[in-house]
């Protein structure tokens, strides 16, 4: 059982990390806790679903289309809910509330269009194949998603650390004034960041929709709190931190079910959240608070 639980945890950890990447990216660059991120995730899943069911696209095409769609939604979100606040240097509270309001709107529009029911991708969209390694089972779908998640994580890291665009994003994250002095179009970089974060959320939406067969307007809610825990664990705004945080949360959840009691699963994650906040508010990998002074 132990090794199967380890596999379960690795798989779940990849899922959590994938979801948390865009969440933490927005915080890292803009210092915004974007509570509408889970709604972009949900929209990504629905766009993917529409691509497959209505437009009859194959899943490998639906994924990039959904990423594009939720990326554009991310940009819209910024233009409508955040940009006006940024322009007047509104406090954290204001952006937080604006993101909550935007999230309510996004969920309710989705409900109006798609209904409250749970939907799933068609059965034949992805071949069902179970690998069995000495009593430990993994599906092809799980391996594929794990693979795509890893590729996305590596690509994001490369983008942030290794490209001119990434350097510009980090410059904007550190100090918008300095970035602007260097000729970096700050507003455009922020837009790109929202696009990337939205696209990441969309990818997570499609892949998790594929994995868990439960696409609904409310699918973002439970992921929201888990995602928050993950990004706090890793340090708000820290890309590697989000990945590590995802695995820590997944392992603590899975192992608490396996060896304690499943009643304690959620309690474990929130107690973990509180402890990290109190002991290391900047997360396990976070830099000191001077970063965003």
């Amino acid at each position: 059982m132990f090794w199967q639980q380890v596999v379960n945890a690795i798989w779940l950890g990849a899922v959590y990390s994938l979801f948390a990447l865009g969440y933490t990216l927005i915080f890292g660059v803009l210092g915004i806790l974007n509570l509408a991120h889970p709604s972009l995730y949900m929209w990504g899943a629905f766009i993917g679903l529409v691509c497959v069911t209505t437009l009859h696209l194959p899943i490998w095409l639906a994924l990039p289309v959904a990423m594009l769609g939720s990326g554009i939604l991310g940009i819209l979100l910024d233009r409508i809910a955040f940009k006006p606040l940024r322009a007047r240097h509104a406090p954290h509270l204001a952006t937080l509330i604006s993101s909550i309001g935007a999230s309510i709107v996004l969920v309710n529009i989705a409900q109006g269009i798609f209904g409250a029911e749970v939907s799933r991708f068609p059965f034949d969209i992805f071949p069902v194949h179970v690998f069995n390694f000495g009593g430990v089972s993994v599906t092809l779908l799980q391996l594929t998603i794990l693979g795509i998640s890893l590729v996305i994580m590596v690509a994001l890291r490369w983008l942030i650390m290794g490209t001119r665009q990434g350097q510009a994003m980090r410059a904007v994250a550190y100090n918008t004034v300095t970035a602007a002095r260097l000729g970096i179009p700050v507003d455009q970089i922020i837009m790109q960041t929202f696009f990337i974060a939205g696209a990441l959320a969309g990818a997570a939406g499609v892949l998790l929709g594929l994995a868990f067969n439960s696409i609904s307007p409310f699918m973002g809610g439970p992921m929201n709190l888990k995602g928050l825990t993950v990004i706090v664990l890793g340090g708000l705004g820290n890309i590697e931190g989000a990945v590590i945080g995802g695995f820590i949360l997944a392992f603590s959840e899975v192992m608490s079910v396996a060896y304690l009691s499943s009643d304690l699963r959620d309690a474990v994650s929130f107690v973990l959240l509180l402890i990290i906040l109190l002991v290391r508010p900047n997360g396990l990998l976070g830099h000191s608070s001077t970063k965003r002074a």
Binding site: N8, R120, G135, S137, F218, P222, S262, D263
Partner: protein
């Protein structure tokens, strides 16, 4: 500046107090005498051929039923199914002139959005409306526990069609329901499956933060203990969870005869898919309650749902004669099969109409008395009666998923 706003505030409060005083004085007290008649209630509502026996009616030309259901929010799923059932019943009642020549039934809907507070507000509004004869609803047991006491105090009959938790009809003698409580369904399911599958040890999984699934678990646990079946482990999950593999891996290692699940269909479907993926063999069946009983189960789980057993009040595969007529009518109206929620709501609307007709009055107390008298009403659910606790009596069914759809369980 502060002074003015304070003045305004005090003024507002004074007005409110005034309003309070008036309200207190004019609370309507039920005064009408119960009508002492006991008609034999054996009409078959779906059988349109039977001519209603029209006598001189005391009923008004328009009779209003109010329905408080979740038409928005996460539980709108159920509310909208219920709405379809009620609308179909009202349409049939009016087409058949069931209440008499020139007497029409009107339904007004109020949305409770899954929020007990909104249910209370809706009830209050409806109780204040003198036209409302009966309230149908609310959708959730939580809403019922908050709002039904208002109706009880005001002497307003309530017929619920989706509350399955315990303690609903205990609120008072004006509260009825057409939804078979889990306690009337699950023990039968366990008994039947034990006999058929020879269960000795099972694992239990349930959603522990949801009133419906937790209440189902309570009943399962009692039923399993009553039948002497060992519970190997009790695993929980939370509303909205999508990954159950940790719990299932643990269950797998314990090798149960079956897995008893108290969950809603969407969660149950994912549990089944993940269990089969982990290699839990199909010989280990899933047993569930009302929550399983939805077309969504097989729709989402596909072949993983095959063999899943569900105890239920009703299913589209039901062999009850009135059921077939109803399913046909429903299909003609909406182009899809009804689910259990629609059927129980359909029955509730018909039962209300029947009671009004039998009482020959829209007086609340008279309707209530007539409701208590309803016995062996031929409904899609089966021969329907209310017991002394105003809970429904009819034969529950045990179903199993066969070739992608629920059918009557054949051992």
């Amino acid at each position: 500046m502060k002074k003015t706003s304070l003045t305004v505030f005090v003024l507002l409060m004074l007005i409110s107090i005034l309003v309070t005083a008036c309200g207190g004085a004019t609370t309507p007290a039920p005064t009408a005498e119960p009508v002492g008649e006991a008609p034999a209630a054996t009409e078959a509502p779906a059988a349109a051929t039977e001519a209603p026996a029209v006598a001189a009616s005391n009923l008004p030309a328009e009779i209003t039923l109010a329905a408080v259901h979740d038409l928005s929010g996460a539980t709108a799923l159920y509310g909208t199914a219920i709405q379809k059932g009620i609308d179909l019943a009202a349409k049939q009642i009016n087409e058949q002139k069931f209440l008499g020549e020139g007497i029409t039934l009107k339904i007004i809907y109020e949305d409770a959005a899954g929020d007990p507070k909104q249910a209370i507000a809706a009830y209050e509004k409806l109780i204040a409306n003198p036209d409302v004869a009966v309230i149908l609803g609310p959708t959730l047991s939580n809403e019922a526990k908050s709002a039904d006491p208002l109706a009880q105090e005001a002497g307003m009959p309530v017929i619920a069609s989706s509350n399955t938790a315990s303690g609903i009809t205990e609120i008072g003698d004006f509260i009825f329901r057409t939804s078979l409580p889990e306690s009337a369904v699950i023990p039968n399911t366990i008994k039947v499956t034990k006999a058929a599958l020879g269960l000795t040890k099972v694992a239990v999984m349930y959603g522990n933060d949801d009133a419906f699934t937790q209440s189902g678990y309570d009943v399962f646990k009692a039923a399993l203990e009553a039948e002497g079946i060992e519970i190997l482990t009790e695993e929980t999950f939370a509303k909205g969870d999508t990954d159950f593999s940790a719990q299932l891996t643990k269950i797998q290692s314990l090798a149960p005869d079956a897995i008893v699940v108290s969950a809603l269909a969407e969660e149950a479907a994912n549990i089944m898919v993940q269990a089969r993926t982990l290699g839990i063999p199909e010989t280990i069946r899933f047993i569930g309650g009302n929550g399983f009983n939805s077309p969504k189960l097989a729709e989402i789980a596909g072949t993983a749902a095959e063999g899943a057993i569900s105890g239920a009040a009703w299913n589209v595969a039901s062999t009850v004669p009135a059921s077939a007529t109803f399913v046909e009518a429903f299909n003609a109206e909406y182009g899809a099969n009804p689910d259990q929620f629609a059927t129980q709501a359909y029955t509730a609307a018909w039962v209300a109409a029947l009671a009004i007709k039998n009482a020959d009055s829209v007086d609340h107390a008279a309707i209530r008395d007539a409701l208590t008298q309803i016995t062996d009403f031929e409904s899609p659910l089966g021969m329907f009666s209310f017991d002394a606790n105003r809970d429904p009596i009819h034969e529950p069914v045990v179903l199993a998923v066969t070739n992608g759809a629920f059918d009557v369980f054949k051992p």
